[in-house]
Amino acid sequence: MSSPLSSERTLRIRDAVRSSRPARGLAPRSPVARLDRRRLPAGAVLTQSLGSIAPAAASSITPAALLAVGAGPFAGWSALLAIGLSVLIATAVNTFTRRMAAPGSLYSFAVQGIGPLPGFLTGCALLLGYAGIAVTCVAAAAHSLVQLVPVALGPVLLPIALAAAALLVAGIVALVVVRGTGGLWPWLLAVEIVSTAAVVVAAVVLLVDSAGMPAAPVELPRTDALGGLPASILVGVMVCASGFVGFESGTALGPEAKRPYLSVPRIVRWTPIVTGLVLLFSTIAQTAAFRVTGLDPAHTAQPLHDLLGAVGRPFWWAPVLDVVVAASFLACGIASVTALARLLFAMGLEGVLPFRLGRVHRRYRTPVVALAAGLVLVGGIPVVALLVGVAARAVIDTAVGVGVLGYTLAYLGVSLAAPRFLRRIGEPALGALVSSWVAAGALGILVPLWAVYQIASGRWLSLALTAGVLVVAAAYLLTTASRHPERVRSLGVFDATSAVDVLPSDWASRREGPGPAA
């Protein structure tokens, strides 16, 4: 019996490989060779995706927000539909992650599929997504820090304390991101696992305790701004989206990851499913708990806190969860800024934004100038807003609104781009085409519905900010296209195969030196 690896076959393949023409015309180095290519283990990529989702923070806060939308006992359906949606989007994203690795992630992907202008708008939407969630994390972590202060702060001291705390959080984020998460990821992953486990335990406790409570269930409010249960369930899907957005952010580390075409698609596929199930479970538990305790989901600042208190759990639960959720927010800030810096780096490398953004740290080979620019945005906005006395809650609500809208618009862009990309390269795989079309169709309904809901409930600021940024971005790109058409042609930079990739590994390491450093 001859095995598939029979010596005859092996010899034949060896001869075919030996007599094959080498690939000619390859650039000597990758366009993104400045980054520390092919070093990060899969765990670091997983930590990046998990960090951006912040499953603990999302699963503790999102269910109450979901119930507040008014789907009542049907809230679980919104969470389930959200998992389905994330699977479809993941398929569209993986169409690209199996074929290319790009620091600009969805931005570069979209340019490959739908061209420069829609691609650039996708990139700017993604930028809003990363920045919005990062601002949320900085503000929320600062808020938690200030709450640890045992004395009540007056109206003069409170804004100063909040702004100082935000500055501290932004500083910690900067320190971690500039060094790269290559060495720290096991700690960050541990934070994610411990914090998510804590929230799951809290959900189990809630479920058990509320089942044992004698009180008659309270009818949950089913008020809805849009009228009709289906609309509420659909709006609820967008609320749940805040619980899975960011799952694709490991993609931004593609060029820096070992075997990116293997690890990145797996992580993009499985993280939203696992974290989505945690969110679903937490939603079921909180729905049951809100029904027996009679608390109003629309008016609880810290739902998990308040619910555990209402079911009679001892006081020490609350601070434990506070610390856990704060750690989750900090990790989320680190992940969001890591991805944001890669996106700005890619835009700088292409020249569509100042070239300076394409510089890397001399020692760590991380995009340090892009990181500094991102931090001005992510640290500056909350610090200034808190300092002038805007409530932390208002900063967080607006930033989450911008973040979720930005992310979902970027997902819409990549879902539209995937089918066109597959046809362009001559690999129209049916499954990926259908998934991308369905994802694009679903987002095409959900995003406008969400916008209408936001306007109807008076939260138009995040909508106006997002629309404003995208209009400015479109105008900027059209102006750049007329002045420097060559810059627009170079859009969509990715880790293209270079000569070093087709040489034996111990040669590659000799040839690939550090790129131009900052």
Binding site: P4, A429, L503
Partner: protein
């Protein structure tokens, strides 16, 4: 013309199914077939061409190609539609693995050292393989020139290819070296059969080196002949 027609060797190969005994994992066989097909077609072959030439369904071809790319046996070319052999396939076939470079005999090193003593430029020896790869065998310790091993697209690989194509060296062209402002002169080292085995290289600031070419030839040509006997 289809891809299958373009490849005459394909017909002479036993069909994969002929080697199967029923229980063997077909996916592995198909993956190996795809690897072999990419090697035979050469760089730039597309998924559709592979699918046609192996009579595999498009979906299977896409999956296997993506799998082989993920495992680094293949690479996607920068146009994202063409494929070429990747690092692991090349290592797998043992094509000029670095350990396979023959050691340079002591007497050959002596010849290079003698040239170094006779001229005031950087003198280096690079080995050239038939498959288009090049290896820095002896770099001038006093005038390091940042030369690096490489394939057909590297500076040394191109130099070797250039020397191989130019059988009769009537003049010594001065080329741009690895660092700006530096030039590089290359003299072919051939064995008895006239096959290129190595290149004797001289590096230095471009303009002074250009003026010295004539004098250098009288030193380099006999040295290259001597090296040819020692390395051939």
């Amino acid at each position: 013309m289809t891809a299958a027609e373009a490849d005459p060797t394909r017909d002479r190969l036993p069909h994969p199914a002929a080697e199967l005994s029923g229980r063997q994992p077909k996916a592995i066989v198909h993956a190996l077939d795809v690897l072999e097909a990419v090697a035979r077609h050469g760089p730039g072959v597309t998924a559709a061409e592979i699918s046609v030439s192996l009579a595999l369904s498009p979906a299977t071809s896409y999956r296997l190609l993506n799998l082989l790319v993920a495992e680094e046996y293949l690479v996607r070319l920068p146009d994202l539609s063409g494929f070429a052999l990747g690092r692991r396939a090349i290592e797998f076939a043992g094509v000029a693995a670095p350990t396979a470079w023959p050691p340079v005999p002591r007497r050959a090193r002596g010849v290079v050292a003698r040239v170094r003593g006779a001229v005031r430029w950087g003198v280096h020896l690079a080995l050239c393989s038939e498959s288009g790869l090049a290896h820095v065998a002896d770099e001038d310790p006093d005038h390091p020139a940042q030369l690096a091993d490489g394939g057909g697209d590297s500076l040394l690989g191109r130099l070797c290819a250039d020397l191989r194509d130019r059988r009769k060296a009537t003049d010594l062209p001065l080329l741009d070296g690895p660092t700006p402002g530096e030039g590089i002169l290359a003299v072919a080292v051939r064995d008895d059969a006239g096959r290129l085995v190595a290149a004797l290289l001289v590096t230095g600031p471009t303009e002074p080196l250009r003026r010295a070419v004539r004098d250098l030839r009288t030193v380099l040509t006999p040295a290259a002949e001597e090296l040819g006997e020692l390395l051939g």
